[in-house]
């Protein structure tokens, strides 16, 4: 089968760990670097997907389905988060006419 040959063909679980870490760090970098609030939400999705990739890799590695079901639940939470986050952003845009994250510190004072 494909699976047995994947881990025997030289692809190690460490490769997937590094790939998932790299994707996660790109998401972190994006959250720190970008100022557009919608892109910040997209970077959060990217980080969630990096975790999903690692969960699926370990689920395959250990031959257990639990990891893949966790991915399923993460997708559920991500969908709910994107819906509410985007609707809040649309409301904020209507009030401030901008999606700049630096303008959204109004709760501070």
């Amino acid at each position: 089968m494909l699976l047995a040959t994947l881990f025997e063909s030289g692809v190690k679980i460490e490769h997937y760990m590094v790939l998932a870490t790299a994707l996660f760090i790109i998401g972190v970098f994006g959250v720190l670097y970008r100022k557009n609030a919608i892109i910040l939400l997209m970077c959060i999705e990217l980080m969630l997907n990096a975790v999903n990739l690692l969960l699926v890799a370990f689920s395959t590695y250990l031959g257990q389905a639990d990891g893949q079901l966790f991915v399923f639940f993460i997708m559920v939470v991500a969908a709910a988060e994107a819906t509410v986050g985007l609707s809040i952003l649309v409301l904020l845009f209507r009030n401030t006419r901008s999606v700049d994250i630096r303008l959204f510190n109004k709760l501070k004072n």
């Binding site: 494909l2 030289g10 970098f29 994006g30 990217l46 997907n49 389905a65 985007l86």
Partner: protein, 170 residues
């Protein structure tokens, strides 16, 4: 072509498109690159024989969530001109913080002691719908039902947020 070559090509493309999501100046292009990233991650799932997750990833992420993002971007009419500017100091700070975090995590992973892989006659079936459904509706049936409540709460929240604004306009 052996599987490790496919893995390296897929991994490189995934990281490249993910970087383009962050670095692209145009928000709509960012969304489109993110869709491409999700397709490539799905290809990785297929490589790991997790077929159900691969299909769900395409339908839910690339299909639903990204279309929602694109829809909001086009609704707000965002383009390159009203993209917020960022200071060069923040860029350097973000790059240093991200790079440092990457180094720390990779260095920590180098010392990790991993379990031996479990590959038997059952393992090709792990990611198939039949097996996942069986585990989902026995072991994880309570979280599954709880997630429906979460969706209901998110739906009510989104409707409430959208409706409140309408009343203030009137």
């Amino acid at each position: 072509m052996s599987l490790d070559v496919i893995f390296y090509i897929l991994g490189g493309l995934t990281i490249g498109t993910a970087l383009m999501v962050v670095l692209s100046k145009h928000p709509v292009r960012s969304v489109l690159y993110l869709v491409l990233t999700f397709f490539l991650i799905s290809a990785n799932y297929v490589l790991m024989n997790a077929q159900f997750i691969a299909i769900v990833n395409i339908i839910v992420y690339a299909g639903a969530i990204m279309v929602l993002f694109l829809f909001v971007l086009m609704l707000l009419n965002l383009n390159k001109e009203n993209e917020p500017k960022h200071s060069p100091l923040m860029t350097i700070g973000a790059a240093v913080a991200g790079g440092g975090l990457f180094l720390v995590v990779v260095a920590a992973m180098r010392d990790a002691i991993l379990a031996t892989p479990v590959i038997d006659e059952n393992s090709p079936k792990v990611g198939l719908v039949e097996n996942l459904g069986q585990v989902l509706f026995t072991k994880y049936v309570l979280p599954f039902e709880a997630s429906s409540v979460l969706f209901l709460a998110a739906m009510v929240g989104a409707v409430l947020l959208a409706k409140k604004e309408k009343q203030t306009i009137d």
